[in-house]
Amino acid sequence: MKLNIIVLAKQVPDTRNIGEQAMNADGTINRSALPAIFNPEDLNALEQALLLKEQNPGSRITLLTMGPQRAADILREGLYRGADEGILLTDRAFAGADTLATSYALSAAINKIGEYDIVLCGRQAIDGDTAQVGPQVAQQLGLPQVTYVRRIVTIEDNRIVVERSIGNGVETVAAPLPLLLTVDGSAAPCRPRNAYRLLRYHRAAVPSELSVGENGKKPADESVLKEWSLADVNGDASRCGLGGSPTKVRKVENIIFQVKESKRLTADDADIKALVGELLANHTIG
């Protein structure tokens, strides 16, 4: 069966690889110095979409992201790896959104796309690690959800069977289409860029990138990358951005560990012997 697949993706700072250039003198992180990447588990989700497309010829993959203009980078990355089109949802009204306001905006965009069989997304993004947006989008679209998916087993007659991780084991579940799946990092890694697609799409751009006249770029195919605003998706501004977010950040602290007075020892026999003796004497061990 031909499937219309929507993949939700987020551009995130690479919090896993914090190099020296991203450290401030006081030991805190300079967040703006971190490289912006395609959220890792969203790439796992894209791979599931690409596998489905291979098994179901004629299927179509739409990559949807919300973010500032530079997030168009991950849409191009998705095109290189096999997505058919990309949509950038961008508007000042979305700034400062918590997960509920984010999922509202994404749901409005998915409703505008209209026809879909499966919505796929990563389980969570590495900047917030909340794992909330997937289930919240499912709820707002009125779709069933299956989270922590590691493999799609079969899809036929509007019924999908998937394997999901449940912490201490694996569950195989069946559900009707349409539905939303969140894919975790134990799923197959995403295939690399395709050289032909890289050549074909490296000039693809969203309209606002063209209007600033960046290198006079012209899209190879005007229809592959789209850009939607709040008005384009008929969104309600009061449910978006900071104002539409029930949760507020009260305080942010950089982690600075409380330094203990530590006893310094060498690896010499005498030191280790004394340590073991001390720990035994005060019943810490033994």
């Binding site: 700072p13 919090t15 914090i18 805190t28 992180i29 967040r31 997960t99 509920l100 590495i126 900047d127 917030g128 690690d129 909340t130 909330q132 947006v133 289930p135 919240q136 709820q139 069933p144 989270t147 069977v161 991780s165 449940i166 912490g167 201490n168 084991g169 694996v170 569950e171 195989t172 579940v173 069946a174 559900a175 029930p246 949760t247 507020k248 950040v249 009260r250 305080k251 942010v252 602290e253 950089n254 982690i255 560990f257 330094v259 203990k260 530590s262 310094r264 020892l265 690896a267 026999d269 030191d271 280790i272 012997k273 340590l275 073991v276 003796g277 720990l279 035994l280 810490t284 061990i285």
Partner: protein
């Protein structure tokens, strides 16, 4: 009314440890606020539940017992809980940050349009002043959570929407029994059919494979943990020798697991387990914040590292500067000599 509600998840027919931890925290928050503590449990056989939760200070226990609830699925739990919240109007609603809690809580919060903070490491009560309106709100829930790969800690509040929802990681809140084991509070049996519709059962579980827990890291009073600095799988095996002698469990950092030194179920840290043993022996662990987030509440921390300035040394009680393959055999030998 406006009590504290805790969703208790099940392991088989027993309440999960994380849920009992949340009841303990919920009880102390309820005492501060002068309100009651309520718990909700859904399952197919709840006969053993009451005696498990009442000692932790539950005042009212809501039970949904139905053969269709043998295993957790999202939609029936969401429907039942959203309606129960509508009826009970709790001001705070807590769940474990487990596979179940992280599936259910966002769905519930989206239905209720209430705010949700994920994976909290602390819950406190405090005041909040709305900078725009100047309005002051007392006794708001402060949900404290790490973000940005554990490099920052954010305090999140939910000033206007109720309930204030949070999920909390397993092992973060200490267990605290406050009532005798035979205490019986108020039990309310709900009829599931009044809360869910048949269409909530569209997702079917075809198969389940659950592995028995292979280690007891969470409950171990001594943990011997290794990082990338252990150097090799052969060296890492020495950790098991020491652990065996000390009746300890072996843990690892993500880097050590990625290097193939041991298995994933032993990962301690932000994306693994949170442990709070009496003694934590950190071997060849540099002390990335992601790892420290999972072990900093340990009683005594002993660090074995070649780098005298390894970040973990800042929180260690004993710092042994040396190679793991040199120090571990000595610890083993001297321990054997003394006992």
């Amino acid at each position: 009314m406006n009590n504290i509600l805790v969703y208790c998840e099940l392991n088989g027919n027993n309440v999960a440890g994380v849920s009992l931890e949340l009841l303990s925290k919920g009880r102390s928050l309820a005492d501060t606020l002068g309100v009651q503590l309520e718990a909700v449990v859904l399952g197919s056989d709840l006969s053993a539940i009451a005696s498990q939760v009442f000692p932790y200070g539950v005042d009212t226990l809501h039970l949904f017992e139905d053969s269709r609830l043998e295993y957790y699925t999202t939609l029936p739990h969401t429907s039942a809980i959203c309606k129960l919240v509508d009826e009970e109007q709790p001001q705070i609603f807590l769940m474990g940050a487990t596979v179940i809690g992280r599936d259910l809580a966002p769905r519930v919060s989206s239905t209720l349009k209430s705010g949700l903070t994920a994976d909290c490491t602390a819950l406190e009560l405090g005041d909040y002043e709305d900078k725009k309106s100047g309005e002051k709100i007392e006794n708001l829930l402060y949900s404290v959570r790490p973000a940005f790969g554990g490099n920052i800690v954010a305090t999140i509040v939910n000033p206007y929407n109720r309930p204030q929802m949070a999920t909390v990681r397993e092992g973060v809140m200490p267990l605290c029994k406050v009532r005798p084991d035979d205490y019986v509070g108020n039990v309310v049996n709900h009829n599931l059919a009044d809360y869910v519709s048949d269409s909530d059962f569209v997702v079917q579980i075809l198969e389940r494979h659950v592995q028995e827990q292979k280690n007891h890291l969470k409950d171990a009073s001594i943990v011997v943990a290794g990082g990338y600095g252990v150097g090799s799988k052969e060296n890492f095996d020495k950790l098991f020798t020491l652990a065996h002698l000390l009746h300890a469990e072996v843990g690892a950092t993500r880097a050590a697991i990625d290097a193939g030194f041991t298995t994933h179920d032993r990962q301690i840290g932000q994306t693994g387990l949170t442990v709070r043993p009496k003694v934590y022996i950190a071997c060849g662990i540099s002390g990335q914040v992601q790892h420290i987030a999972g072990m900093q509440q340990s009683g005594i921390i002993i660090s074995v590292n070649t780098d005298p300035d390894a970040p973990i040394n800042a929180i260690a009680d004993y710092v042994i500067t040396g190679r793991v393959e040199e120090v571990l055999p000595k610890l083993i030998t001297f321990y054997q000599q003394k006992i």
